[in-house]
């Protein structure tokens, strides 16, 4: 039952009670309700049309937004100040990442992160054993920063400092032979790293009539 329906039923019950009991005070109240000038605004009849605004929620403060707004776009938007090189990242990788991703990023047991395909071919629909590494499959370098900062390592997600993340990204890009060993990765250089897989990605091409 809607709330409006419930009120209507409650009102009907109350009137029934008055009629049965003949309670003078209640009758007086009912009389008063009928005849008293409308002190309150008249009850809305309700509508099925939604208003432009319900007035629900409250404005977000700039500080609240800044505290959560950690995403990084493919154009580098959202990258924080800071920097790192592969030399900075190597020891952090050994301490925090190698246990799951292998000593050189190729051994697993979790996702293989390092490795290129000869000629930067894209054999993933021919050979399911080809690992989808950062160097062979990831279309944007910025994704590595965004993902490591938000979700890694799984035993302490979100615990890495921005400079540590820059260092790790530099180390992983270096291991994938995408940047030289001494390259500095920061908010301006990261979006410019050329990712070999990028050219292979296309929008969903299933149309109507649809193909698999």
């Amino acid at each position: 039952m809607t709330r409006r329906g419930a009120i209507r039923v409650a009102a009907a019950c109350a009137l029934g009670f008055i009629w049965l009991a003949g309670d003078r005070a209640a009758m007086a109240l009912a009389e008063q309700a009928r005849t008293a000038p409308a002190a309150k605004p008249q009850a809305s009849k309700g509508t099925t049309k939604e208003p432009a605004s319900f007035g629900i929620g409250r404005p977000a403060t700039p500080a609240e937004i800044a505290a959560l707004d950690i995403d990084v776009g493919p154009d580098g938007a959202g990258l924080p100040p800071g920097r790192g090189t592969s030399a900075d990242g190597a020891p952090i990788y050994a301490a925090r990442c190698a246990g799951c991703h292998g000593k050189t990023g190729k051994e697993g047991p979790n996702d293989v992160l390092v490795g290129r395909v000869p000629g930067d071919a894209f054999p993933f629909a021919r050979d399911p054993r080809t690992p989808k590494t950062i160097g062979s499959y990831w279309p944007y370098a910025t994704t590595a920063f965004d993902y490591i900062r938000r979700a890694m390592p799984p035993d302490a997600p979100g615990s890495l400092q921005d400079n540590e993340v820059y260092g790790l990204v530099a180390y992983l890009l270096f291991l994938n032979e995408l940047i030289p060993a001494d390259a500095v990765i920061d908010r301006s250089s990261l979006p410019k790293v050329t990712m070999p897989a990028r050219v292979h990605f296309v929008p969903d091409t299933r149309g109507r009539p649809k193909a698999p």
Binding site: A60, Y137, W138
Partner: protein, 399 residues
């Protein structure tokens, strides 16, 4: 030996009851229940002691719905499949909030109570993980749960995302939004704003009660008909933008390598698929009439037709669809078959209201090649009924 499904279940229960530990799992029912006063009323209902449907965890990050134990279209909430990337977070509904910012007129924060004050929408929809095909490398002894357990159907209740977007004043140049969860993965996906104006919800209800933790408590994004990963659970933040964000989940994962050397990005739509849930492994059939049944679904709208073959795809007949057929929801199909004892391969093929026909393995492989993960694999599959009545998955080569 021919054993009915019921006898098989009863036999299994007997083994459990007489196990070495002596701890009977199923309480003995009185021989004549009408001669014993029954149990009193209680605060929380429970399944009958003999009924023990269970999800089947695959590692720590997913578990599938036991389709072989279900008979309708709604999945009991505690059997809804789960898939998560950082575990199931515990979120206090009193401190929960959703931030919406970016290309909006008014960046705003909504509490759970705020979300519930908006006009509510309830709809029955399936959800499916796009990696829901367990038949590529499996042996013949797999259940419907192992083959396609990562799809379930619920009644979802929430506020239309379009309503919330109107409240914050989404700017016309905003074409995408980032949805971010409050789990340990802070899972993020970029979603076209057009989906908000179509049928997207911020859902807080599932089958008439609060969403379960595994499904996104206290609130989640719900995108009907789209791959489950995009319906970000435990949603804490939405950021409007004029371009997608290219997150890890939409680039290195949940993209589809194609036979032509490309890879599809943002392949949200779940195409039509069907699954025979009975008879299927580990059932043993007896000769005579069998009602083949199962579920069919499509992200494109309503299931228009399900065809059944009992001869390995040589001939097809139209199954009966349980009414009403709902858009983007599991649809139960049923088909009578008189099994006379010979070997048979039974198959189902879904056709949706757009005319899309569930593809064969050959058609899928021609388009997709051999994928290592197999997102969006929706092939027609078969169950092999052997002359002795045992039923197993009909294996096919995917290489």
């Amino acid at each position: 030996m021919k054993v009915s499904r019921r006898a098989l279940l009863a036999g299994a229960a007997g083994v459990v009851a007489l196990g070495k530990t002596g701890a009977a799992q199923v309480p003995q029912a009185p021989s004549d229940p009408s001669k014993v006063r029954g149990k009193p009323s209680r605060a929380l209902g429970q399944r009958a002691p003999s009924e023990k449907p269970q999800r089947q965890p695959r590692g720590a990050t997913s578990s599938g719905t036991p389709h072989q134990d279900l008979c309708g279209t709604i999945t009991p909430a505690d059997l809804h499949f789960e898939r998560h990337h950082g575990g199931v977070p515990e979120i206090d509904p009193k401190t929960y909030s959703l931030l919406i910012h970016g290309m909006v007129e008014r960046p705003m924060v909504f509490t759970l109570a705020d979300l519930k004050r908006f006009p509510a929408v309830s709809r029955v929809h399936f959800l499916e993980c796009s990696g829901n095909f367990g038949g590529r490398t499996a042996g013949p002894e797999i259940t419907p749960q192992q083959l396609a357990g990562l799809t379930s159907t619920s009644e979802w209740t929430g506020v239309a995302l379009a309503t919330v977007f109107r409240e914050v004043g989404v700017r016309p140049q905003a074409k995408w939004f980032l949805a971010e969860g409050q789990d340990a993965a802070l899972l993020t996906r970029s979603i076209p704003v057009a989906k908000a104006h179509d049928d997207a919800l911020i859902a807080y209800g599932q089958n008439g009660e609060a969403i379960r933790p595994e499904q996104g408590y206290p609130a989640r994004l719900f995108l009907p008909g789209w791959e489950g990963n995009a319906s970000v659970k435990w949603i804490r933040r939405i950021e409007l933008s004029d371009r997608p964000f290219m997150t890890r989940e939409e680039t290195s994962k949940y993209t589809d390598p194609m036979a032509d050397g490309t890879a599809r990005l943002f392949s949200f739509l779940m195409d039509a698929r069907s699954l025979i849930t009975y008879p299927a492994y580990p059932v043993t059939l007896g000769r005579g009439w069998v009602e083949i049944n199962g579920i069919a679904w499509t992200g494109s709208g309503k299931i228009q037709r399900v065809d059944i073959s009992t001869d390995g795809g040589a001939t097809w007949a139209q199954a009966k669809l349980q009414q009403p057929v709902l858009s983007k929801a599991h649809t139960r199909f049923r088909h009578l078959w008189n099994w006379t004892g010979g070997e048979a391969v039974i198959m189902s093929r879904a056709v949706d209201e757009t005319g899309y026909v569930q593809p064969t393995r050959t058609e899928l492989m021609a388009a997709r090649g051999v994928s290592s993960v197999g997102y969006h694999y929706n092939p027609i599959t078969g169950w092999l009924v052997r002359p002795d009545g045992t039923v197993v998955f009909r294996q096919e080569s995917w290489t």
